[in-house]
Amino acid sequence: MSNEIETIKDPGVPAHKLRQTDIDPKAADRAERQVAILFLLSALSTVLFIYSYFFISTETFIFIPLMGDQNAHQLFLGLGLAFSLLFIGLGAVHWAKTLMPDTEVIAQRHEFRSPDSDRDDFVKTAKEGAAAAGLGRRSLIKRSLGLAVGLVGVSPIFLLRDLGPTPGEELKTTSWKAGSRLVTDPGDRPIRPEDLEVGSVAQTLPEMAPGKDHRSLNDIAKDAVLLIRLRPEEFNLDAERLSWTYQGIIAFSKICSHMGCAVALYEQGTKHLLCPCHQSTFDVTRAAKVIFGPAARPLPQLAITVDDEGYLVAQAPFNEPVGPSFWGRSK
């Protein structure tokens, strides 16, 4: 194509243009002073940095326009460090730009491809080496070597087995049992139905086993339950799920069925629960059915009733695993 059509020619590297500092020695001196000033400013900033570290109290606050009240120790320590570094850089660059020679240099690229003679030599050496090792002929060695190296490569993986236990049934169980009282989080106070007004919400956990005074985060990660009170006529549930509520009070696992964030955001007006992580929205009146967002399953509902002292308790454990999905969830 290009031999018929004559393309525009390359005029070559443009002529070198001299800078002010190349022509005028006064300009060069000025540039040198500017570079020196920049380096000196850096030195002064380091002094500020050291001064701030030792002599500005960490409790002092000062007002800076546009920024508001700032911690003086932190601010001047940081500004001192920042400018001590910045001015060195600015000085070095200014020095290079104005005073160091800026004539463009042309270097030649070299072809990467090795000369044919070298390539042939390489092939010859490699082939001779392989033949000397006898790999080509001695297939028994080759195969057994493969087996040995392959196996030893796999062995470190077994060392990792004790990184953790296997899940077993743990992902499918929580601390909730029949008769577990719902207690406030925090505070650990048991709850009566009359404690909750219509439209109210309570963060709850199962009461701790006697003798324990401390909950682990592992338990909270599965046990957290949200208690909501509506008017009983507002429910849109089948008979079974309705029997899991108590006088308009309904309980759901607080752990999102999508990816495990705490779903605690209850909109009293719409009766929806919103998970702030990925905006999955659950309809409380329909047993936390998903009405928007990426969650695929409703929040598990905890069946509740009252015990003989009038406190709210679980009727039974959850009927399904709580939290995010996993392969064997329904098994």
Partner: protein, 528 residues
């Protein structure tokens, strides 16, 4: 010879007698580097890495990577007496008890954000100028590797303080892991040492964050730089610049001063951010507990696109023969990112397959001269931007009085519809720019001066452009699309016809250009 010269000479002699350094020093001190600001983007990333190493080492002297529960006794009143992990408490101590601790924490975190941003703009520069072409394909793959590892390293890094926000992020990461078919819950149990959150996670990611990944980074960055050094940097086209030369400045003293100076500048700007802008205020988030959550929970920006994809995913989770397949998590969380990053890594080879161009390239493309590639890049960017914006949809909703539901629907539809539109628009833009270049070469620059001809006609004076500019606008190669015969010499249909038909389709689309002007065209104009 001055005293200074004598000492320098002795040192040089000492080293050379033991290493033979003088020979390669001489050669490399004169090495020529082309000069353009867009070549410094990778440097920003490199220097940020050094800053991360330095500031990170400082932090390790005080950080306690343990999930053991302690009661906070430090000076920050609103958290006094609360139970928290030792990791969180030590991060609070670094912030409030160690002088310069909060500054270093902030420099470290700002530096990480700048590191990732610099990698992305560097990647965009390399992509849009075609610098990934032979012989630099492997370096491109290394770069994609560094990008991926950077995302992981950053995530692990900000999860170390075990605060409410990052702990939520870990919960979400665990859910992605758990959703993997067959082995998900096992992988999760192995990583966390049991059920979530457990006590093993922070200490384990600490090792990964300060030892394993930095080691891998050091190795990859070294190879990445060595390749640039050995293969020599690419250069923008222009007068005097050819595929066979490098026009620029020598390492010593110019580049040492400029590149060395730039390191201090990057460090200085990062430290400035650390001094004046608060980042990751863990004392406001509170310690992590699975029962709490904050409105507006997001990961750091470089993972925002992942969050956005997960948010907009439709709720598809079939149960097949009793087994749960969480496509609503796997598709946005693993499959789409996997396809994206694999596609990115393989792109040099894909483009080579389409163009059939197996030659070396050391001169960069002006993006307009590779309209298909540029449009593809714009398409990918649009995709990522929509995902990123959706990741912040609740913050956007609160601040701009919008509805998260509307933003979600915009993103769901937009992410499918907008990227192809971006492709078409960008490609047409590139072709228009090529046309404009052609006009400039043939007719010169419009000066805006009007002159009246003797015949009464008004004409705008056009100034011919300089030969350097004319060269710049016409030096690019324009090849015809790859020719692929349907039948071979004996009239037998080639095997793999569908693949090569696809290839030909892509090749034709890829090669769409506005023909650049030639000397003949110029001569024709002169006759007007």
């Amino acid at each position: 010879m001055s005293a200074r010269e004598r000492i320098a000479g002795n040192v040089a002699n000492y080293v050379d007698e033991r290493t033979g350094a003088a020979a390669w020093m001489k050669k490399n001190l004169q090495k020529v580097f082309p000069d353009h600001w867009s070549f410094m983007l990778g440097e920003i990333a490199l220097y940020s890495f050094v800053i991360l190493l330095l500031s990170g080492t400082f932090l390790t002297f005080w950080f306690d990577p343990s999930m053991r529960e302690v009661v906070y006794e430090g000076s920050y009143e609103p958290l006094k007496g609360l139970e928290m992990s030792a990791a969180y408490a030590s991060a609070l101590d670094i912030s409030f008890e160690v002088r310069g601790g909060l500054l270093m924490r902030q420099i470290h975190h700002w530096s990480a954000l700048i590191f990732m941003a610099a990698i992305v703009v560097h990647l965009l520069r390399v992509f849009f100028t075609g610098a990934f072409r032979k012989p630099r394909e492997f370096n491109w793959i290394l770069g994609i590797g560094l990008l991926t590892l950077g995302i992981v390293e950053g995530f692990l890094g900000y999860s170390l303080p075990d605060d409410l926000l990052s702990g939520t992020g870990i919960r979400i990461a665990e859910a992605i892991l758990q959703a993997i078919p067959l082995v998900g819950s096992y992988l999760s149990y192995f990583l966390f040492g049991g059920v979530f959150p457990g006590e093993a996670f922070i200490p384990r990611i600490y090792t990964i964050h300060i030892l394993l990944l930095p080691g891998i980074f050091l190795a990859l960055i070294t190879v990445h730089l060595m390749l640039v050094w050995y293969q020599k940097h690419t250069q923008y086209p222009g007068p005097g610049r050819t595929e066979k030369n490098v026009v620029g400045y020598p390492l010593m003293p110019i580049y040492m001063a400029k590149a060395g100076g730039f390191f201090f500048i990057v460090f200085g700007v990062t430290a400035l951010l650390g001094a004046v802008a608060s980042i990751n205020p863990i004392w406001l988030y509170g310690p992590y507990t699975p029962g709490q959550i904050s409105a507006g929970s997001q990961p750091d920006w470089y993972m925002g696109w992942l969050d956005g994809l997960v948010r907009m995913a439709p709720p598809i989770e079939p149960v097949i023969f009793g087994y749960t397949l969480s496509l609503n998590i796997l598709i946005p969380g693993l499959i789409i990112p996997g396809i994206l990053f694999t596609g990115m890594a393989l792109y040099p080879f894909i483009e080579q397959w389409i163009t059939g161009d197996k030659r070396e390239h050391h001169l960069l493309d002006r993006p307009r001269n590779a309209p298909n590639r540029t449009a593809l890049g714009a398409m990918a960017l649009t995709f990522m931007m929509i995902a990123l914006i959706n990741g912040g949809n609740d913050i956007i909703a609160t601040n701009f009085d919008l509805s998260i539901n509307q933003i979600m629907w915009f993103s769901r539809i937009g992410i499918i519809v907008l990227p192809p539109i971006a492709f078409v628009v960008t490609k047409r833009l590139c072709l228009s720019l090529q046309r404009a270049d052609r006009e400039l070469v043939l007719h010169g620059r419009e000066t805006g001066r009007l002159v009246m001809m003797p015949s009464g006609e008004f004409v705008e004076v056009h100034e011919p452009i300089s030969p350097e500019k004319a060269w710049l606008l016409t030096q690019h190669e324009q090849s015809a699309p790859l020719e692929l015969e349907e039948n071979d010499a004996r009239g037998v249909r080639r095997p793999g016809l569908l693949k090569s038909k696809l290839r030909k389709r892509f090749a034709v689309a890829h090669a769409e250009q506005v023909a650049k002007p030639t000397v003949a065209d110029l001569k024709e104009i002169e006759h007007h």
